[in-house]
Every structure is written in structure tokens, then in C-alpha cells.
Subunit: 92 residues, 2 copies
DNA sequence: TGGCTATTTGGCAATATAACCAAGTAGCTA
DNA sequence: TAGCTACTTGGTTATATTGCCAAATAGCCA
């Protein structure tokens, strides 16, 4: 019951979103795709830290990436996750 | 920007939901309010563990509780969070 | 009051997460 | 090829989360 695929998958997505930097990245990617260095301009952290956050999001299936020359562009796969923002904020 | 109240609150809610047992509890509470011992019947864990999960959910503002005699009944405050389930599952 | 049930809290050990630095890889461009 | 830029990966340390047991609290009921 509690070990249903459903809960395992949902937990993975929730964990991926349970960090302010990653929520911020999702917001940025909702607007348009961005490369890692564009994300870094807005986020005060080491590029390796941002790269690791991105790989958490990708493992959860929330984003995808494509390489263009020596840059890597990330895009949001699941814009529905952002509807959640308004749902939560409204409650407060 | 990244330290906006928005992201802090959202992160709190996401962290609260980022555990299979807590997602399962939210599902159970969506059906109707339940006391801790009813939850325990469905969850293979120590009651103290379940109680701690419930306090995480309460701190995030997702559930509320009321005492009836020597039982404590929990109810879902924010049913909108469950819409998220279908959003995610649909993607897969 | 004493004992029972339901629940919460404290403490601890195991595990997971996060951030940085350093080093590695890949694709330019000179 | 050498050096540069963009990014990822490995390693380490600090911090947070989880789950159990034991003990505390609260409300019955005899």
C-alpha cells in the first residue's frame, strides 16, 4: 500500500522540489530554457552546486537538457508542478 | 529573490510532503479525518514515528488536529495538495 | 487513586542532503 | 595542440532527517 509505485514516484518529485534553489530554478525554466551559466547569474552558489541541483531535478523527471556547443540548456518538462505554487500560497 | 517568503514557505510544504508515509497519511485524511491509531493500523511503524510525521505535516500547515477524549483526530487542511498527485502521475 | 489507552516528547544511531573545492570532461578558438 | 569556457563528478565536512526505544503526559474507568 504505502510502498506503491505511486508514493515512491511522488516522493522522488517532492524531494526534488523541496529546496528553495530548485524551486527558483523551476520558476526560471518556466519562463524559458536556460543554460547553467544563466542560472548561476541569478543564484549565489558555486556552479558545481547548481549543476548538482539540476541533476536532482533531471533524475526526478522534472527537467531535461540539451547541449549546444559548450553550453547545456535546461528546460521544464512538467509545467504543472508550478500550479502547486499558487495552491500553497493561496492557503497562507 | 531566492530567499523570498514564497520559496521559504513552498520549501516547507514540499519537505513535509517528501516522504511516502506522509503522502499516504495525506491520502487517508483526504477521505475523512482519522485518529492516530487508525492511521497506525494502515502503516507499519511505531506510533511515535507516526506522531512525528503528523507534527511535520501540522508544522507545514497541511493538517490540523482536535482532541476527543484520549484520541487525537487529524484532518486535511489543504486538499489542493492532492491535485498534485494526478499531475505528477500523469506525466509518467 | 491506580491502572489502562492514546498520544507526544527526548535521546540516540543510522542514513541522507547540501555546499564547497579540486579535478575531470567536452567543445570551442587561436 | 594549447588554452579557454562551460559544465560535471569526486571527495569531504557539516547539517538535517528518520526511526526506534524509553519515558512523559492526558484522559478515561474501576
Amino acid at each position: 500500500m504505502i510502498n506503491d509505485i505511486k508514493y515512491v514516484q511522488l516522493t522522488k518529485v517532492m524531494k526534488a522540489m523541496a529546496h528553495p534553489t530548485r524551486l527558483f530554478i523551476l520558476d526560471m525554466l518556466n519562463e524559458k530554457e536556460h543554460c547553467v551559466c544563466e542560472l548561476q547569474e541569478q543564484i549565489n552558489a558555486d556552479m558545481s552546486t547548481i549543476s548538482k541541483h539540476l541533476s536532482v531535478l533531471r533524475n526526478a523527471g522534472l527537467v531535461d537538457s540539451r547541449k549546444v556547443n559548450n553550453q547545456v540548456f535546461y528546460r521544464l518538462l512538467c509545467p504543472c508542478v508550478l500550479d502547486f505554487y499558487t495552491c500553497i500560497i493561496k492557503q497562507k
